[in-house]
Symmetry: none
Subunit: 525 residues, 2 copies
């Protein structure tokens, strides 16, 4: 098996963002692209340029990212039934995206052709052929996504096969069999892929949906039957019940089938990747999510624990560290020393196994994690924290107190006004500012107060602000975690604050963000 | 296939209750037992009488329930290595439970016998035989649960097979193959079951865990290979990543394999069953849960919706009504009149194509969507809105003004205090309250002001609060959307508020939520 080649095709940014409740900003999409690339994903589907302006903007911006592994694909469909390829707005948007790869879907199911498209079976074949040819003439590589292939095959196998033969002849580089409605059973998927392989020489792919809770199994069965490309999303995000979950597929391929897809080193960042994308999607990772959930390797007291301590294989299907997770014995959010050393190295901080400060840092992080902090998308806060504990950081300013008043009157815009008292050295500044909302008012007041000491703070601005309620059973009295992304135009960094009070949580994240940038400025002098 | 017999064995009350966060009272367990029986489950594992007093109590109480379909099983293990069966407390607790069936687990994996039990392979075989014989001598039927069977088979197939042959000879009525660590792949499960069938005549069962996101697939593959009993839990509850999810397995058997397990009539109560158990477990059903989640049959506007309306098979793998769910047209792209009419019907509001108010409602919704409103998780706000525009709703109260002050002082907990002026009829109330954060303070002040007019507002509470920043490029000055879920203990409804000011957005969602509940109260009078 080791010699098998597998390509990962991620569609979190397109199919994943169709999920109710997910809405990625352009900034989010670019960050996820970088993260996926770093993790070793082979293809990243960035959006559907024919469907919205944000996606067009994405394809323009992504060209400037220095990607190392991944190639970018733009998504679209075959031409419309009664329009010539060169006049089809959707196909032209693909060309205009200047992405190297176009992934276009077409119909394989006769029912869809006649009932949904209301055209003839013959015209559908022409649509497939002409669309692929048109894109190839404009220099694009084409992946052909055979929508509803398994349902189509069940209804009319000859026609379904004909559609992909046409795609093959038109020069598609991959033919991806889609279980669009997510209703197929694993053994059926396997047998259909095997039959398709007898007819088609083009490398095959699988695109499964999770409507029957079988998307991971269906992807793996298709792999067993010979597909080389597996499409899916991080954490299985997607419409209805979601797409195939790459976070469960990747470790199965690596650790159970023994196939190298991203490599064992990157696999150790699987949990980090899952949580990073979840943070930006503003979704929570369920505790029981396979491989990466906080309870995925949790053992209750008694027999299980002692057996696991004697030999982990007794109750663990894989070593948790292999996917960057950890065994959990008692209820504790303990950050492991080795994890931390690994992370610190990444941040360029010198800390080793024998450093007497290490225990102190681990303890501090444990405390904060217990309070609800999460550092996956807030590395600036983490770096600041480690340096503070190690005594390598002196705060540049101190917030003595802050107050914010928000007033809501009928037929008036709401007013929010903040006052702050800030100390820099032995100087004190007391100032006030008005903003759109209490957090914006505080941010502005703080900048105003600091501007006479650090005029360079003008260069930075908040680019994203996310709030997550932790332990939602208590409604608005619950604890909140605020995640902020700040940018100086060249780079972006994340900070975090946690409190039962959203104002305090926000303020802490804003302060971290300013402190971090000022610290970096000093380091670079 | 139709002639195949399948038994469902539910272990929600035992293995399911091992999940972090779940704790069933005795009352809960009895209610769930009745519900499972009513739904047509064949065996209900009620607990482990040897492990805790609550479970002993359960077996006493369950005898008085008038069950129609289900038989009750008590769970336990084979005798301890160095104790005789008749002296084993655990086996005697099974006998004392007076349950008709005992399900006992024993070791199939040589590693476990020598490393975890620290006994000989030969003694383990005696433990299995003697335990089964002892229980049978005391009149119990015995199901033998072969723990870690698949891992054991991988390591030492002869020994694994020997353990279950011993169980067969000792008179076990079922031999259940367990993938205890949840690490096995579907094709492996299938091939092992096929091999076991060549050696064992006793009817087989499968007990799968979800650590690889494959528990449903593994159960179905075992079914294809010939097991007749499928064990699992409602919603897949269970330790670590959970057990096989019966809520996904049952409809697959009924609708995809065409095997009658509970019958088509009862299957229509699948969603109700899933939500009932979730309610008692104090867990939320994820929107994207296959078959029974609120988004499982959600379609976005445009192509999908028009195709589904032409022929539901185009984008639905099964008819949603078959499992008691419903099609949901996601309102976020509610530009079209037909989408809105469909939605209004769903909410029980009478509005038709020729209603002169329809255009007005559509226009209002378009305006709000442009401002950033999203009604997909806020149907209470949508219902209120439609009724307002149609002139069918008069507000029960009016908020004249509100103010909230948050103060942050070093070494103090942050303080948030809100004042509100509320008008009900011609009466005015001016009051104040302190809360954990500004939104909580406003919520409390508003309730306090309204309590003299509507004391029933005490019954409702916020159960979830979500904030999303829209158009994040402007950081904290961006617009925010607040989504609130409120519950009166029986049902939950969602409301939404949008503003550049998080305080105003939250307030609007809170007001909608109270207004909605008061309106429903009046409608039901």
């Amino acid at each position: 098996m080791r010699e098998r080649r597998v390509e990962l095709y991620d569609t979190t940014l397109r199919d994943g963002s169709q999920m109710e409740g997910i809405s990625f900003s352009l900034e989010d999409k670019l960050k996820i692209t970088e993260k996926l690339d770093e993790f070793g994903i082979h293809y990243i589907e960035g959006g559907w340029p024919g469907s919205n302006p944000k996606d067009i903007e994405y394809f323009r911006a992504v060209k400037d990212l220095p990607l190392e592994n991944a190639e970018i694909a733009a998504f679209g469909s075959t031409r419309r039934p009664r329009v010539r390829a060169e006049e089809d707005a959707n196909l032209n948007a693909l060309v205009d995206s200047e992405a190297p790869i176009a992934t276009i879907f077409g119909k394989s199911w006769d029912l869809h052709v006649t009932r949904a498209l209301k055209t003839t079976l013959e015209n559908n074949l022409q649509m497939i052929a002409e669309s692929i040819e048109y894109l190839r003439e404009h220099g694009m590589r084409v992946f052909y996504d055979a929508e509803h292939f398994f349902d189509g095959y069940r209804a009319n196998p000859e026609y379904a096969i004909t559609t992909i033969k046409v795609a093959e002849e038109a020069g598609a580089e991959r033919i991806v069999l889609a279980d669009t409605n997510g209703g197929s059973l694993p053994s059926f998927v396997k047998s259909v892929v095997e039959k398709v392989k007898e007819e088609i020489k083009t490398p095959l792919g699988i695109h499964a949906h999770n409507d029957s809770e079988l998307a991971v199994a269906n992807s793996l069965m298709a792999f067993e039957a010979g597909v080389i490309q597996i499409q899916g999303t991080i954490n299985g995000y997607g419409e209805r019940c979601g797409n195939a979950n790459l976070i469960s597929i990747i470790p199965a391929l690596e650790l159970k089938y023994g196939v190298e897809v991203v490599g064992r080193e990157r696999l150790k960042k699987l949990k980090e990747l899952a949580h990073f994308v979840a943070e930006l999607a503003n979704m929570e990772i369920p505790r029981n999510q396979p491989y990466v959930g906080d309870s995925a390797f949790a053992h209750k007291g008694g027999v299980h624990v002692s057996a696991v301590l004697k030999d982990p294989r007794t109750y663990e299907h894989i070593p948790p560290e292999a996917v960057g997770n950890r065994r959990k014995v008692v209820v504790s959010e303990l950050s492991g020393r080795s994890n931390l050393i690994y992370k610190a190295k990444e941040l360029g901080i010198d800390i080793n196994e024998n450093d007497p400060k290490l225990q102190e840092v681990v303890k501090k992080i444990k405390e904060l994690e217990f309070l609800g902090y999460h550092f996956e998308a807030a590395e600036a806060s983490l770096e600041l924290l480690i340096k503070k504990v190690k005594g390598e950081y002196t705060p540049t300013f101190e917030l003595e107190r802050a107050m914010v008043v928000s007033e809501i009157l009928p037929d008036h815009s709401p007013i929010s006004e903040a006052t702050v008292v800030v100390k820099v050295g032995d100087k004190k500044v007391h100032t006030a500012a008005e903003g759109n909302g209490p957090v914006n008012a505080l941010d502005l007041a703080l900048r105003k107060a600091l501007s006479e000491f650090y005029p360079e703070l003008k260069k930075i601005s908040l680019v994203d602000y996310k709030v997550r309620v932790l332990g939602s059973e208590k409604g608005t009295a619950a604890k909140v975690r605020v995640l902020i992304q700040t940018s100086d135009g060249r780079r972006t960094w994340g900070t975090v604050g946690v409190s039962t009070n959203i104002i305090e949580a926000s303020l802490n994240a804003i302060i971290d963000s300013m402190e971090y940038w000022l610290m970096k400025g000093r380091e670079n002098k």
